[in-house]
């Protein structure tokens, strides 16, 4: 009997697999059903999580919050997690990760808070969204959260680094209102302070939450050495850091070295693709899911470079016609040798035989 009770789950999986078998195509193709479901409601999908924008809130200059209603494929989340938000821009699907800025709610709504960057295509498109539009979101990812139950917390954030912190604070207010938390929040100007009202409300629900603001236009960036003066017991606290890479580095090193037994969690955003370097003679190419790395001379094709390094990517015509050598570029910029066109910095398909690196690259070479 035991077996029968243990197996249903596995049975369910294998029957689902049988049902998914290509023999039954097109009847079992989720994409085909998605298109039909989409005629009724564009949020419905059998294969991907999508969400409708239900409300848009201006939080600060260039910062908006989008309240999203996800479909059933979105499997829930924990405070501190992020989602990949995908928007179609001029026909091209583009995605960026954004932290969820609220804890899970009873009405199931999600909130992402997005700062529009000067050169940010996705953040710009996200700001142009209107209520009622549907976006693609990934399932929740990441594990940014306090690890030690009941520990005293130190949260240090800058700019939109506040977003996962607010999510975590909402979570704590619901589950552990007695938690001792110090939040050090840096922002450029008073007008840029995000969630000021919401933090006041949170302080009412979390009596031991202390919020320290830092206006960087007046007092400069928070230096690691200033931390002990602000938070005397910093080295006893479990620390959560979130902000732009450069800003966080000093603090990260100091806390990692100085903290006594407490842990440090870091969530960094704005980790940008490598900068274009027109003067470099060779560019470094790293591979996703592979330890190997190689360099390619400026002006040479990635296919030649990979082969010179002893790799054997698939190829066909070697002159940009057949696409056999198509490969997913994870990050970095390439130039098309035939047309001279520059790629974007993010994830997209490129042809190895007619692409030459313009920056350091990361590729996902098919095995």
């Amino acid at each position: 009997m035991n077996r029968v009770h243990l197996d249903p789950e596995r049975g369910a999986v294998s029957s689902r697999r049988a049902w998914r078998h290509p023999l039954f195509a097109p009847l079992n193709q989720p994409e085909s059903w998605d298109r039909l479901a989409g005629l009724v409601n564009p949020r419905w999908s059998f294969s991907e999580s999508r969400a409708t924008v239900v409300r848009i809130v201006d939080e600060a200059p260039d910062v908006k919050s989008l309240w999203l209603k996800p479909n059933a494929r979105f499997g829930g989340f924990r405070p501190g997690q992020h989602v990949l938000l995908e928007i179609e821009i001029r026909g091209v699907r583009q995605g960026r990760c954004f932290s969820l800025s609220h804890a899970p709610r009873r009405d199931g709504l999600l909130r992402v808070t997005i700062k529009r960057k000067a050169d940010g295509r996705v953040s710009g498109a996200a700001h142009a969204l209107r209520a009622g539009e549907v976006v693609r979101i990934s399932r929740a990812q990441g594990d940014f959260a306090a690890r030690i139950p009941g520990s005293k917390l130190l949260m240090v954030c800058a700019g939109s680094g506040i977003t996962p912190m607010v999510s975590l604070l909402h979570g704590l207010a619901a589950t552990d209102p007695a938690r001792d938390v110090v939040l050090v929040q840096a922002f450029r100007d008073v007008a840029d302070a995000l969630f000021a009202d919401e933090l006041r409300d949170l302080q009412a629900r979390l009596p031991r939450l202390r919020v320290l603001g830092r206006i960087t236009s007046a007092h400069g960036r928070l230096q690691a050495a200033e931390l002990p003066a602000l938070v005397a017991d910093w080295d006893e606290r479990e620390t959560l850091l979130c902000g732009p890479d450069g800003y966080m580095q000093g603090l990260e090193t100091m806390i990692a070295d100085g903290a006594r037994g407490a842990t440090l969690q870091v969530e960094s955003f704005g980790r940008r693709a490598a900068e274009i370097d027109p003067d470099a003679e060779r560019h470094r190419v790293s591979l996703k899911n592979d330890e190997r790395m190689f360099t390619v001379s400026a002006g040479a094709s990635l296919l030649e470079g990979a082969e010179a390094a002893g790799l054997q990517p698939r190829f066909g015509c070697r002159r940009g016609i057949c696409r056999t050598c198509s490969c997913r570029k994870v990050s970095g910029t390439v130039r098309n040798l035939l047309t001279g066109q520059l790629s974007g910095p993010g994830e997209e398909l490129i042809q190895l035989c007619v692409s030459t690196p313009q920056s350091a690259l990361e590729l996902a070479l098919p095995a």
């Binding site: 023999l23 085909s32 298109r35 091209v92 066909g316 696409r323 056999t324 047309t339 398909l349």
Partner: protein, 361 residues
């Protein structure tokens, strides 16, 4: 036959640059319009398939049967030609949409996608009309140029052609296995088995779908569905075959020898693509049903630009060709197809390779 044009190196370079510039201009303009087109066509093909299969399964009487066959044939033609063929060329890779990615798309035909990507995208598009290298030239069973060696089997080639046209999807499906090579002893058995495998898997799935699954779902109407599916596949075969044969085998389409293309520049490659291909004239619906292969010349110059763009750039390609004295081979369907059939009969009997005259540029 209109003579082959050869260009002096300087004109050739200018010809190349003009076409490169045209390509860049379109590549930079790609956007929402192209994305909307392919999605709408995909929706149309799906709707047509549902309507066609629905009428075959649940309709009654001959009128609904014919309507069902037409709906399903239309769906298969559009899916194979305007969606499958074009998506697998990478025309929509820039959209970053996994359901339209060239290297993973699988189409509604017995030919395995990977086989097609090799025999078509690599061999045919790179080596277009080079006798001995472009295996699409005559499909290993037809003699369409005096540069191909004659043998008595070719006397019956009008009959072979009829059989190929009726079963065209099977011809396409076994194309990349290179059965001829195996029969001549130039391919070992294990290699042959390895090459057969994807074909058998894909063919099995297609046969199951059209001749077991859907007929079974129609219960007592199974025979109606089975015959309807057979007819729809047949119509698709005849149509795609006629269109594809008009692409490279018309009266004025040139062939090339391996020697001619040694050290070929990109400009010479462009020139070969123009002179080895031929266009069909017609309305918008006609172009869509051919998967825009009616603009074979533009397709062969820029195989990875979204196909509806071919119609847009055709007048400019034609104008460029005219300036360089390159013949732009175009005509109505019946005229071009008659040229193909004439060629089929002409080269069934031994024809002697005539020395090519070349016109000065």
């Amino acid at each position: 036959m209109i003579a082959k044009t050869r260009l002096d190196p300087e004109s050739l370079l200018r010809f190349e640059r003009e076409l490169d510039a045209l390509r860049l201009e379109i590549a930079q303009d790609l956007g929402e319009r192209d994305a909307r087109h392919i999605r709408r066509v995909r929706g149309f093909a799906q709707g047509s398939a549902i309507a066609g299969r629905g009428l075959l399964m649940f309709g009654f009487g001959p009128v609904s049967w014919i309507a069902g066959v037409v709906g399903l044939a239309l769906a298969k033609i559009v899916e194979n030609m305007e969606i499958g063929h074009n998506v697998m060329h990478g025309q929509y890779d820039w959209m970053n949409d996994p359901s339209l990615a060239s290297q993973s798309y699988e189409w509604d035909i017995v030919c395995d996608g990977d086989h097609w990507r090799h025999s078509h995208n690599v061999e045919h598009h790179d080596h277009t009309n080079i006798i001995g290298k472009d295996h699409d030239y005559g499909y290993g069973m037809l003699r369409l140029s005096d540069q191909q060696k004659w043998s008595p089997g070719y006397l019956l080639q009008p009959l072979w052609y009829l059989l190929l046209a009726l079963n065209f999807q099977w011809g396409v499906a076994v194309h990349d296995i290179k059965i001829g090579r195996f029969l001549l002893g130039r391919m070992k058995l294990p290699e042959f088995r390895r090459r057969m495998q994807p074909f058998l898997r894909k063919a099995g799935r297609q046969l199951f779908k059209d001749y077991v699954l859907f007929p079974a779902l129609a219960w007592w109407q199974w025979s109606r569905v089975l015959l309807g599916n057979l007819a729809a596949n047949g119509i698709r075969n005849l149509w795609t075959n006629a269109i594809i044969f008009c692409g490279h085998f018309t009266e004025h389409a040139h062939t090339y020898t391996r020697k001619e293309v040694e050290h070929e520049t990109r400009g010479q490659w462009y020139l070969r693509q123009v002179q080895g291909s031929s266009n069909l004239e017609g309305g918008r619906a006609f172009h869509l049903l051919t998967g825009h292969l009616s603009h074979q010349i533009e397709h062969h110059l820029f195989p990875d630009l979204p196909a509806p763009r071919y119609a847009e750039i055709a007048p400019r390609v034609r104008e460029i060709c005219a300036r360089y004295g390159v013949h732009y081979n175009t005509g109505g369907f019946w005229r071009q197809y008659a040229g193909v059939i004439a060629r089929l009969f002409k080269h069934a009997v031994p024809t002697r390779p005539h020395r090519e005259s070349t016109s000065p540029a």
